[in-house]
């Protein structure tokens, strides 16, 4: 409907992205019809033609070319406005600067996208789609903006900005399809929402009159509690101690984790909290820092992933497609890589069997352990990655956005696994921007600001609102300065 924000919800693999890719002409549907602004549109839509129907997209992976400049990405696919035989780069750059200024974005047309932070990339993708919609409207099309999970990369304040932008657009009659796993966001911004499960529509709800729990139930198919799942720990000697850790953003931070504890790290994007796991795992070079673990002392700047593994530290990165799994390779190969070390004789049957067990234990939906990892859905890939690392029985588990793009049901399973690690006496450090997740599983939360630890919340104080308050207090302090 014009001027409506329509939410699209559903567990992982329920078909949200797929539906959106059908709209963009990326996939051809088996059957079905599409009506935009009362007109029937023939399916499949030829690639690149969805725009003529007034659609504009922010895809789940943003759809940016990292090797290219901001400007090149901005005008990519802008078939309507651009003359095919003459691109006036100067004029385009001017236009881009205006656009960025309008949206208060700190982007330069000449920057290479690969050098941008994830936030800026998301902003670029969103501003691109918004711009496109505006253009469509100038051409008389109704304008439909499709946002497939645009928020995981964005700090809270930018989410606000985004919502503000969405409201501006809807006020002008633009229809918006908004995909998110964050039910609060959906509750806040949408007018109606549709829930998908296994590719089927479960129902369409009027947001204003729907209970949160009803939505969750529709998504998962059963009721899920979002209650806090950890109880306070008795004080004990720390299992892990980090001293004076410095990296690209973080500067001289120290922290410690006791056995069985889940330590949450959070903050606004860019505050450096997400750097800590990568530094401690040796995935990224630290400039300084000491790590004490199980009586051993490690020099963090000289640490590389192999040393970390030897010290029974495991790291689950945020970038699943690139750093989590090798999509071309089989589940066995993906899951068993850390186990095989430098062995000269691999027992293939044994590895397959172990993988089969792992798949079962972590309830990964897969048809065979010899399947290519790319054939799994994102959530199942994440469970596989988790299984791959947790089978090492680590002393310290480092997580970076472990549930990014993961549905409510699968999240619970992941939490279960993490709690098992704690029960075995392991320590967990989890960097995430999802405050709700911290409320559920973190014993303690450190809030980062400008590369330093700004405050700490413990036990019953760990709540969504308390974390949010702490985060924004920092911003306000800066603003006051």
């Amino acid at each position: 409907m014009p001027g409506e924000v329509h939410g699209l919800l559903g567990s992982n693999g329920s078909g949200k992205s797929t539906l959106i890719k059908v709209l963009s002409g990326f996939h051809a549907p088996d059957e079905g019809e599409l009506r935009i602004d009362g007109r029937d549109i023939a399916l499949p839509i030829p690639l690149g033609r969805s725009e003529t129907h007034g659609l504009a997209f922010v895809h789940q992976n943003l759809g940016l070319l990292h090797d290219a400049t901001v400007l090149e990405n901005l005008i990519a696919g802008d078939h309507e406005r651009l003359r095919p035989w003459w691109i006036d780069w100067r004029a385009e750059a001017e236009r881009a600067r205006k656009l960025f200024a309008e949206h208060h974005l700190d982007l330069a047309p000449d920057d290479i996208v690969a050098d941008l932070s994830p936030v800026k990339r998301a902003q670029l993708a969103i501003v691109r789609a918004a711009d496109r919609v505006r253009e469509h409207r100038e051409h008389g099309a109704p304008g439909v903006l499709v946002l497939d999970e645009p928020t995981p990369f964005l700090p809270q304040e930018d989410v606000r900005d985004l919502f503000a932008m969405m409201r501006r657009l809807t006020a002008n009659g633009v229809a918006i399809i908004f995909v998110s796993h964050d039910i609060d966001e959906v509750m806040e911004v949408t007018d109606r929402c549709t829930v998908l499960r296994d590719g089927h529509v479960i129902g369409t709800f009027d947001t204003a009159v729907t209970e949160r729990s009803a939505l969750v139930e529709a998504i998962v198919g059963r009721a899920v509690s979002v209650d806090r799942r950890v109880s306070p720990l008795p004080a004990a000697a720390p299992a892990v101690e980090v001293r004076d850790l410095s990296g690209e953003i973080v500067e001289g931070i120290s922290l410690s984790v006791q056995p069985g504890e889940i330590l949450g790290l959070t903050g606004l994007i860019g505050s450096g909290y997400d750097e800590v796991p990568a530094l401690l795992a040796g995935a990224q070079r630290a400039t300084a820092g000491q790590l004490k673990l199980g009586g051993r002392s490690l020099d963090v700047p000289t640490l590389d992933p192999a040393d970390a593994m030897a010290a029974r530290i495991v790291f689950i990165p945020a970038d699943r497609q690139r750093a989590g799994i090798a999509p071309d390779l089989s589940l066995t190969e993906n899951a068993m890589l850390p186990l095989i070390g430098g062995r000269l004789a691999l027992n293939k049957r044994r590895l397959r069997k172990d993988t089969g067990e792992l798949i079962r234990r972590y309830s990964v939906k897969a048809s065979s352990s010899e399947q290519a990892a790319s054939e799994l859905s994102g959530g199942n890939q994440q469970k596989l990655v988790l299984g791959k690392w947790l089978q090492l029985r680590p002393q310290l588990v480092l997580l970076d956005e472990p549930t990014q793009g993961i549905d409510v049901g699968a999240r619970q399973e992941i939490y279960d696994r993490l709690l098992e690690v704690c029960a075995d006496g392991g320590a967990v450090i989890c960097a995430t921007s999802e405050f709700e997740q911290l409320e559920i599983i973190a014993h303690r939360v450190l809030i980062f600001d400008r590369g330093r630890i700004q405050s700490e919340l413990k036990g019953q104080d760990v709540t969504k609102s308390a974390i949010a308050q702490a985060c924004y207090k920092a911003v306000e302090t800066h603003a006051a300065e």
Binding site: F26, G48, H66, E72, G77, P84, A108, D110
Partner: protein, 320 residues
Amino acid sequence: MRQSSLTYQLERFGLVVVWLAFIALFGVLRPDTFLTWSNFSTIFGSEAVLVIVTLGIIIPLTAGDFDLSIAQTLTLVSMATALLDARLDVPLWLVLPIGLGIGALVGVVNGAITIYFRVHSLIVTLGVGTFLHGITLFIGNSQTISGVSPALMEWVIIQRYFGIPVAFYYAIGLAAVIWYMMGYTAFGQQLLFTGRGREVGRLSGVSVGRVRLTAFVMSGVLGALAGILYTGTTGSANPSSGTYLLLPAFAAAFLGATCIRPGRFNPWGSVIAVYFLVTGINGLSVLGFRTFVQDLFYGGALVLAVMVSQLVSGRKERAL
């Protein structure tokens, strides 16, 4: 601002600087012969065919595909041109479009197989190239065909401007056209997105298959054009001519991607790379070095040039 920084400019024009340094070196050693206009016009005039082949391969390379068949396209078209012209007396205005048509057809075949069957372009173009070589041997009866009409040679190497054979200007003109196409048209952008992020390209509405096909057709046509110029340059066609241009063309394409627009295959970079390598060979020959020294120079210069370029850019990880 990255664009205006000194390092970046050094990176962009590093190869040009090295080239000038070589010219200076040879010039000091043999000022009387090396530093003459006639020598430079020789250098510029002689490698037009290689420049065009290099320009041909960078188009599919930008789209992420290898075209190894271009050398055999060149040979086939060169042979067909010579046969049509010298043996069958077909008028030139008809020979040229036939030649280019053959090139386009080869491009369509390469593209269709690569895209429809989703086979790696390397193996497709290798196979197609070998097949074309068979056709060349067949139609030319494994012979070298000479007796090409003087008009063709006239318009390739005899005619000169500023002492440089006209073929050079064709090559430069083509480089300009491709530079414009890559940088200032929507197709150029689509080519880039196709090569660097196929998925991303499709999501932004690029018909990846069509772009790749078009790229293959373009390289086929450029290969054909190179073939026609080859015939015009040598006045004859032989069944192995193109084979030896393949590796030098790839060398120039990759070396060219380190300058002017570092990190991307680009036409001016390719042109500079070709002439940089040729200048070295020519200089060594003028100085009277034995031919194996040319190989040492060629290999050494290639590797050193990219190494230096990477050092200047701070050993940045590059897609190519």
